[in-house]
Amino acid sequence: MIGYPLVGRRCRGMDSARNQANCRELLQDEWCTAARGMRYNGRKVRRGSLVQHAWIEPLGDRAVMVRLGERPDETFQRIVTLIAYLDDHPLPGQVEVVPGYTSVAIYYDPAEIEPLIETADRLAPVEFPCPYDYVRDRLLDILRTLDARDAPPAREVEIPVCYGGDCGPDLEDVARLNDLTAQEVVEIHSSASYVVHMIGFAPGFPYLGGMDPRIAAPRRDAPRPSVPAGSVGIAGVQTGVYPIETPGGWNVIGRTPLKLFQPERDPPSLLRAGDIVRFRPISKEAYARWEGQA
């Protein structure tokens, strides 16, 4: 038997919106069962499994979106857990898995899935075996067995940063806006640890969570036509590192000699979703030495 026949059969032949509503209903139904630690559909459901937070919908006809909650702080471990699992145990037809702040997209090839459904559904024929239904059912199976408490340990990455001066022309502005000294901004920025929620916007660009709001600063009124690669910036309550030279409106407070994106490497990005990042202040001389070695 494949999957989750209750959801599978009930959903077939319904329009997409009702389909979703129906799934959620069934999921909540199952959540109650799971919370009591019972067996469901002949299968033991883990207490606290990811399925109780999950919301699955199509992202076009070649990808599926799994939403795992509302806020990035609560979804972080869930996303890391799901990605680690799918990397090790890819779904049939899986092309790639891409994390967002609170969601994960799984790209797949419907043509690879089609033959699988025809076998599975021989006893319960439907008018068209929809690959999306198949992928969703597989995902529900997987989510039921996963628990965010089993998330793999995070990698920690230290990023050396030369703050202020030529490397960080906007450090003084950020300090002034927040009634702090430049040194205090550096201390606050480099004492926190940040989580990498996702990589996006530009190749290797990390969306970091965990910046102290005391050093928040709005985007610059006029974006710079060119911000050098390695620049460490602040925009609102977010901080990030520019992996490639690009125009940008963030307040640049420092620069790292590390290369965040190297297309000839595999993986090409220094960071990945789930990493923990710390910034370590280095002197101008250390920055120059580092650059010289590279």
Binding site: A17, A111, P268
Partner: protein, 357 residues
């Protein structure tokens, strides 16, 4: 086995099926805007459907072939010609050495694909030959072609050799008699049936699935999307098509967390003007997504020039995937058809060369 670029055209790039598996690192997929025409061009030259080919945009290049080459041009009609003689589309063509292939402006469609048997050879980046223009990665030196570039193609495939043999045979057996040697090119007398081809239009109807945030939009805006029409704006490019028309409004403004987006994702920035994300889209986006254009209609979009007018029709995931699988079967059938066509000696068909598709 070299092509020299005499004139580059408006935007001519090396593309393939796209660069997958690296979106999680923020690397855009890129690849052919019209994957169907691109795959057809490869199939007609005996390549794997995923071989590197040229994508030619709006105004075509002038390309000098140093050696004989088996090519196919699919997609937009840019009146390609050699020595003033039109080179027909959607079929294999044997271009003779020392010929100049000249493209003009697109008369129909917006993007043409030129595939060459053996595939274009460029350095692969992250498993793909596609050009990612903004980051300068992949393709030919990470950029669009410029005058003087030299493109190299790879070794002939067995299927390519069979197609080439059959083209030469066709000419020799033709009632008008031989003379294959002194023609600038030899085009097959058959082509992909027009029934299998998408109908390019300046007013295409594209089908969509409701996007994740469909329900966040006002009822009248959803009506505008379904019944109205949207003009493809002048700033539309490989990254996205900016549409102009009735503003699409949210019931209430909400900040969203960035999430993955894909080809065909229709996102709506605060100004209410939708953007359809195309091949060079960013991997993630933070604007509400009202709709998702289905895969089989992306070629129609890719072939709609700025100024074209789109209308939208809603379908469900079941229909979208049924159409996608049907398109895959069409491509497989075209591939099998080409193989059959060139494996049988033409005389066994009894004058099949008189049929012209």
């Amino acid at each position: 086995m070299t092509i020299i670029v005499h004139k580059p055209g408006l935007l001519t790039t090396v593309q393939d099926m796209g660069r997958y598996r690296y979106q999680r690192y923020g690397v855009v997929v890129a690849g052919a805007m019209d994957p169907f025409a691109y795959a057809c061009a490869n199939i007609l030259t005996g390549n794997e459907p995923s071989a590197a080919a040229l994508e030619i945009t709006m105004v075509g290049p002038k390309l000098w072939f140093a050696q004989d080459a088996l090519v196919a041009i699919c997609g937009a009609d840019m009146s390609p010609a050699i020595q003033g003689e039109r080179v027909p589309l959607w079929r294999p063509v044997l271009v003779r050495a020392k010929s100049l292939l000249e493209f003009a402006s697109a008369r129909e469609g917006a993007r043409a694909y030129l595939a060459i048997n053996g595939g274009l050879i460029v350095e692969q980046r992250m498993g793909s030959s596609s050009t990612y223009l903004r980051a300068g990665i992949g393709g030919y030196a990470g950029r669009a072609l410029i005058e003087g570039d030299e493109l190299v193609w790879g070794r002939s495939t067995a299927a390519g050799a069979a197609i080439r043999r059959s083209l030469l045979q066709e000419v020799e057996d033709s009632p008008h008699g031989g003379g294959a040697a002194d023609r600038p090119f030899i085009a097959a007398r058959w082509s992909i049936s027009s029934r299998a081809l998408p109908h390019y239009s300046k007013h295409p109807q594209v089908r969509f699935l409701p996007g994740p945030h469909y329900g966040m939009f006002r009822e009248d805006s959803l009506g505008d999307l379904r019944q109205g029409s949207y003009v493809v704006g002048p700033q539309s490019d490989r990254m996205g098509y900016r549409l102009e028309g009735k503003r699409l409004m949210l019931r209430e403004r909400r900040e969203l967390y960035s999430e993955p987006v894909t080809a065909g994702t229709v996102q709506v920035p605060p100004d209410g003007m939708p953007i359809v994300l195309m091949a060079d889209r960013q991997t993630t986006g933070g604007y509400p997504v009202i709709a998702q254009v289905i895969s089989v209609d992306l070629p129609l979009l890719a072939q709609t020039p700025p100024g074209g007018r789109l209308s939208f029709r809603q379908v469900d995931i079941r229909e979208a995937q049924r159409l996608l699988l049907a398109e895959r079967r069409d491509l497989a059938a075209i591939r099998a058809g080409v193989r059959m066509r060139v494996q049988s000696a033409p005389w066994t068909f009894g004058g099949c060369w008189h049929e012209r598709a």
